[in-house]
Subunit: 218 residues, 2 copies
Amino acid sequence: MEPKILSAVSRSTLKRLPLYLHVLEDLHRRGVVYVSCTTIARKFDFGPILVRKDLEVTGAAGKAKIGFRVAGLIDDIKKFLGWHNVQDAFLVGAGNLGKALLGYQDFDSYGLNIVAVFDNDPRKIGTRIFNKEVLALDKLAPLVKRMHINIGIVAVSSEGAQAVVDALVAAGIRAVWNFAPAPLEIPEGVILENARLTQSLAVLTNKLKSLLAGPEKE
Amino acid sequence: MEPKILSAVSRSTLKRLPLYLHVLEDLHRRGVVYVSCTTIARKFDFGPILVRKDLEVTGAAGKAKIGFRVAGLIDDIKKFLGWHNVQDAFLVGAGNLGKALLGYQDFDSYGLNIVAVFDNDPRKIGTRIFNKEVLALDKLAPLVKRMHINIGIVAVSSEGAQAVVDALVAAGIRAVWNFAPAPLEIPEGVILENARLTQSLAVLTNKLKSLLAGPEKE
DNA sequence: GGCCTATCGATGCAATTTTATCGATAAAAC
DNA sequence: GTTTTATCGATAAAATTGCATCGATAGGCC
């Protein structure tokens, strides 16, 4: 079966695929060759039908009674997500969050490669973090053009975030991954994705609140 | 109007409330007193009706033609999310990600207060990060009980994550905020919330892929 | 070789979530 | 004082998402 048109895939499915990928890679490391949707679903709190439907969009094909070949499935999901072609990215902001992102080695296997770091703090410029030199912000625009960078990662404070995004867009960036909690404006045709931690925290504290308030009900 | 029963609120609504909160606090800083759902919705790519419906669950009431009082609305949302009562939390993992989380000062205004850090690396134990001492992992269980800590934050690698969660649960933690990309097992009655960065990345790279592949369609 | 079981793949159904519509209300304009 | 306009609040419709059922297929077992 052919993979579906990209835009037709729901955001929910898109967010579940990386979860499957992680489980599959774990199985792969342990030498498992074939896996069924039922087995995958056991790791999560939703059913095997949903898993099968999600995997369908990647174009992966399984066999009855056996299931899917683990290695092939990993490959199909990665291909679908575009993670087998590694994209180069620029990171803006060399604070704690920026350092954490630089130190997170696994991005390579997620199709992301941070090639340079930018900051406007003169004390940071010229220093090296995880073997990558911190560059001045005014170097950003020419380098984006010369290196044909598509992805910009924003790891600055809420106050500075909009200005950084504007600079990235002006330089020709096509997609922005934003870690600042502020909602940002972005022109048509440029992609903005927010890695909002506060949203996740909201869900957590809310669940906790109801748990502490009334554990007897539900 | 009374706030709705907590469990009845959809996860989608719950995740949008922090976004509104951020916009509202920005307006508050700029001295704006009243705001309408239409104005709030302009900041996002969804309509004012959805905003109104979301705000409804918090119990906030607005007036026709005027809108909602900004200060009151902020208060109502925070109250609803449980963010006006700050919860103490333990952080496990003093690596780059742990440091970034410790350095993120704004958690206070989101109802979260990290009171201690734990790690099993002898070189890190005893050192101070952002004025908080790094403690040995075996100190975790007794301190959870003594200090009545409800929230545990997991900022370790995928390999160690399950063991850390098990230890937290055994110590009596009620809610876990997980930053490791691995899917974790957790017993009934304990809350698990994943701050999955890879999901966000999947959405980004997928959008980018379709943008680069065919910008003419859509 | 024939039967049984587990799993895929597809279609149809149910629930949830989002959007649209309508009347009521309160401020602003005339 | 009346009309106009913008917004809230509630209800109804549409779209999306998740789930269950059904036949088909392929391996295991007797």
